[in-house]
Symmetry: C2
Amino acid sequence: MREFIPPAARFVDLPVDFPLRRGGTLHGARIAYETVGRLDEDRDNAILILTGLSPDAHAASHPADTAPGWWEEMVGPGKPVDTDRWYVICVNSLGSCKGSTGPASVDPASGDPYGPDFPELSMEDIADAAAHTVRALGVERLACVIGTSMGGMSALSLLARHPGLARSHMNICGAARSLPFSIAVRSLQREAIRFDPQWNRGRYDAERYPQRGMLTARKLGMMTYRSPQEWDSRFGRTRITPERRRDTDPFGPAFEVEGYLECHAHRFSRRFDPNSYLYLSRCMDQFDLGDSCGGTVEDALGRMRLERALVIGVETDLLFPLRQQREIADGLAAGGLDVEFLALDSHQGHDAFLTDTDRFGAPMAKFLAAL
Amino acid sequence: MREFIPPAARFVDLPVDFPLRRGGTLHGARIAYETVGRLDEDRDNAILILTGLSPDAHAASHPADTAPGWWEEMVGPGKPVDTDRWYVICVNSLGSCKGSTGPASVDPASGDPYGPDFPELSMEDIADAAAHTVRALGVERLACVIGTSMGGMSALSLLARHPGLARSHMNICGAARSLPFSIAVRSLQREAIRFDPQWNRGRYDAERYPQRGMLTARKLGMMTYRSPQEWDSRFGRTRITPERRRDTDPFGPAFEVEGYLECHAHRFSRRFDPNSYLYLSRCMDQFDLGDSCGGTVEDALGRMRLERALVIGVETDLLFPLRQQREIADGLAAGGLDVEFLALDSHQGHDAFLTDTDRFGAPMAKFLAAL
């Protein structure tokens, strides 16, 4: 169990006792964050970014860490989220392993990592911890909350639980609840980890590590982050050249697409804590904005206290399909909000918001410029 | 390693030495088949059905085996494939474990099952074995070859390699080659089996059996056979009731969709030979009708000697997406054939041809009636 903390991460302490919604209390937990840009005197130019399952708080380069961030094309001076104007706060989710307290962190009660003893995590806990972080930075009213992928879930939860904390919202490839296909994908990913004997019910270390399970989980993830159409043009039926075939098993990787998955999965498998993956994955399944507000998704969306919202989805998204962004946009509009809904014709699937910056950048910049 | 032979299966011997396309020769191999209906005196009313990866030759009930077949709704007296008129031959694919020779069969050279020593299988071998079976039954000219799913691949291969053997063709949710997304799905399914320690490089038995790998492979299959939209309406976010939760692991199945996958996978996992699954799966990846004819897919389709064809696909098919059936239809039409192409608006994904008999039955019946 290991944490992977970006070099310039800073930290906000959560209240000494931080009770979780499904039971259990964290003691002395913290949230990792980074900021880009400057908070102005009125403290009204802050934007919060909530991330997908795996990214850390390093969304973009800045003087303290000049390495490119995970959303480098989108956040920075003169970029769609223009840090010459906006003070951007990016928060690492509670339960992650990138600096915020999670299963890989040390449990002060035992002096050992929590591992499988970490309490059950909910999207509402992630949202509350992010709201606490924002307020601890002296911001009482955000100009905008941007949530991407899983961050689109935690953002909706935050908006519902902390009315008035934000003026506007951008929901990018997000969802107001998990649907059966994505639950099934994540269920299989968790199985790959859980049934890896090296997982050992959550008690592993660097030597005895569920590498095999993480590889399979990540490959399955990649398959749902991209789109079949993109892969047709990118890989077609090209085969791995014999000299590059590492695996002599006749049933092993023979096509470029298999080599690509192998390569990406290897890169990821040692950089994310397997237990953290399990907790965040299950937390996504459990999320239903309606449940969390004691009503339906429509009720919860219809009650949002916001001025404006931009909701973007992609036609080829398998994991967060377009009908889920339409549901968000319709629900917010039913509450009387000024909502713009964009269904982008990108071939890059769920990950289009990371890669297809041309299509996403312009509407995001326009939305923020009009705030 | 076990074979699962339907009670009324009959057998045709392949030539004593049956060389496979990618090397290796089978000695004393056989093909399992069943027939429904009667071959008329002119021997011109025969229809061949080639199946997907897992079905056996028992497509429909008949006096020798009254149990419902895998395509019971579609084949029988008065049904879309009307056995009052047609003599229907359904063949179990070479390499399967349902009566035709495959990795679970006994290798006459050793007296033990072939297991991983079975030679590499190709779609062309499956096609040639089926063509041999048809001729052995005294049929020199089929009225129609119907191929579903993988059978849509072996049917195209048969038509290309045995010109004149069929007058017409029905391609149902098939493909002329495998594309990267489906290759990736099958690659992960194979990994689940190969990395199950019980697989033991293909040397397992009933006690030491790669059950875990088969479960995961089948679940992943189910996810690509159905459609997210169908699951939304079928399962929604319904949870498994606590008394029905068998698994106390907090990351284990909690939603109905997870229970459904678990149940189906358990039903399948002991009824299909894992090695056979690996061979057929890889054989599908390798299939490219163009390669097999020394040109492009378009060339091969354009040269088909047929009178008519019906090509059907489904909008929600993830595994054999609609653009693949359109490719087949366009290619056949370019060769001057009378081709009908139907893109059905079914929510049931790839398996719609098994479940959505209303939508499939009428056009199939109409096509056959006009022959």
